[in-house]
């Protein structure tokens, strides 16, 4: 099992992290453990470095991703993520949002999704600040839903943009 990213990068257990510091640590660790630096040394160390370097890459990715980072922060607090959402209205809301996104995606609707996502992230941030892990867990569960919606929304909007461009290309070439 790989080490918790917070432990590996030796950073304080907070939701907000110093990305520049993380990148500096990432580069420093990779300079030390990347397998290419051991290729000419010995195959044994090369193999070991491969594993380490992989962990460092994974940890770096997790620390840069709000959801995975929150999850590993909870894990660092010995919390597991097997809870369910305790707010049934929220799930109903999500279903409605999904339907709207499917039926009539628009930039303004997308922006409202981004805003909702930000609000939940704010709740998550505050919960972590107050060491209220129960609230943090619920907020994280919700954040996952909103995050997926935002991603879907972005995909949908960019797809439509592309489709328009293709249409345009076709009409100009004729």
């Amino acid at each position: 099992m790989s080490k918790n990213p917070y432990m590996l990068f030796q950073i304080p257990l907070t939701y907000d992290v110093d990305k520049q510091q993380i990148e500096r640590t990432y580069f420093r660790l990779q300079k030390e453990f990347h397998p290419d630096r051991y290729r000419h040394v010995s195959s044994l160390e090369h193999e070991a470095a491969k594993v380490q370097s992989g962990h460092i890459n994974t940890a770096f990715r997790i620390l840069n991703d709000p959801i995975d980072r929150a999850k590993s922060l909870l894990e660092a607090h010995q919390e597991t993520m097997d809870d369910a959402i305790e707010d049934p209205d929220f799930l109903m809301d999500i279903m409605e949002l999904q339907e709207t996104l499917e039926a009539q995606p628009s930039v303004s609707f997308y922006e409202s999704l981004v805003e909702r996502r930000q609000k939940i992230e704010e709740t998550l941030r505050t919960a972590f600040l107050n060491k209220d892990l129960k609230t943090a867990k619920q907020a994280l569960l919700k954040l996952k839903y909103l995050d997926n919606l935002v991603k879907d929304g972005k995909k949908k909007l960019s797809l439509e943009g592309d489709a328009k461009e293709i249409q345009k290309d076709l009409s100009t070439s004729q």
Binding site: F27, Q30, K31, H34, Y38, R39, K50, G54, T58, S158
Partner: protein, 616 residues
Amino acid sequence: MSELLQLVEPGTTRDPHADAQSGVVGIDLGTTNSLVATLIEGTPQIIPDLDTGARLLPSVVSYLEDQDAPIVGKEVGGTTFRSIKRLIGKGLDDIEHSLPWEASASQEGPDVIYLQAGSKTKTPIEISADILKMLKKRAEAWLKHPVKQAVITVPAYFDEAARMATKQAAHLAGLNVLRLINEPTAAAYAYGLDKNVEGVYAVYDLGGGTFDFSVLKLSKGIFQVLATSGNRDLGGDDFDRALADMFLKERNRDEKLSPSQYADMLHAVRSFKENLGQTVDLRLEINGVVSQHTLPPAKQKQVWSGLINDTLTLVKATLDDIFLSPSDVKGIILVGGSTRFDILRKEIESLFGRPPLTDLNPDETVALGAALQAESLTHGSEHLLLDVTPLSLGLEMMGGVVEKIIHRNTPLPVSKTQEFTTYQNNQTGMQLHVVQGEREFSKDCRSLGHFELTGIPPGVAGSARIQVTYSLDADGLLTVEAMETQTKTRQHIHIKPTYGLDDKKIRHLIEDSLIHGQDDMKTRLLESARLDGKRVLQGLENLIKNNPDLLQDADSEKIHEAVKQFKDILQQSNRDLIIAEQKKLEKTCHAFVESCMNIRVQQALDGRNIENYKES
């Protein structure tokens, strides 16, 4: 490799003459031209031909009837092959343009073709090997010692078959490939070290046959690739073809050119294109008919803007993927001879808001970067290249849907584990199909290999826990391991590509996934609804079979009817209907299922083994 095993602290500086003695080179095996470079006293340098001083070696190979050895670098009659890189790792079906050579399907495999050179039969791998041999000879003549190892550059978007074929060509040429590195990465490496710059840089690499775009962050000796994308079938050759076709139209004659006439015309058009700075006028003579053509900038734009837009669409999508905008890019490094047009440079400038960097020779940067990486891999260096995998790696699920395990643009090395479960009751084996690509369905991705995990303890569907781990090392080699967690039964394979995927499909992998994303998603959703439906149906049928006495006469008819009806609905392609009808079916059978469950609980409490009460 054993000769290289020397104990050196990582990052220590090496003996400045060591590289020259060990014979390690960097090679840019290009569509139009190839180059070889090495480090001389710590500085990468192109190795010129000892006699002529030429730095570029045209990627042109001629085979003569009366001579075994090929002539590389110039056309001397016989059969001449050009742009052979466009054919490497491809089967006959994958070739979109008619070839000026006689080509046929080979017995080597679906991704190799035979080309006829008089009475000789050659594969693109052998022809590439002849170019590599020539580069090796050039380096050995100049360095005065044998050269055995090389870093060879490939387009970032080369698929596994093309990479494998390139390695085989090197092998045939007597070169051990230290690593294949991506051309744009090599260019950025050379540029960053030469100019000692920091920040986010992009590489726009338009070669003779391929287009690559990469974004890198350069910081204190680290070259971190953030994203890479490309199109392996878009290059300068296509610009030539577009131009030639326009000129043919202008001649306004109903003429049929033979493949070799067309090849000659392309040749003329290419040199015209390369000299556009000097003249915009061209005189063409085909079948004794002369025509005059002119190509002022406005007309250049007209003929090439479609191709340029194709590249810029990919550029924008790649930046978007990593949440960057064009203005975040500090410099755009141009690579490849095809980036010399003014109109292309202007389009790039208008997208990024700054002119592209032109202070490095776009033909030579890639080979210099390869030499630097070769040095780093054999002797160590203070610099480190952190590359990414350009294509996603996934596992085929039920219904042909691909679950991506390692996403594209993931830094290497990487190891990722995901848990899967059984689909049927008492399933003791599992077929794993490893694929590469961005599309939702495995049939649209490249198949890399199949393997089977056996010895799964029998149990109800969904009860087994199978951990599948994908490990991709810095050389791009993939290892897949599957483990059943209860018995720790393991199965693992080193993936060697199983050739045979239609390259036409790979060609526009990313663009396709952008364009067809919506269709894919719809089909995927339908498949998953069907799968759910089938599971429910299967469970229900087992219950019916095992509990005939629980089915009361009145219910029996209703339930049988509902099951029959639902089977028909599963055949239809209406997801909403499937979901709605499944709910109805569940409702109809609710009481029956509940009584079955009651019995089961009772039996479990009675201490009877549930296994004896198997659902199937």
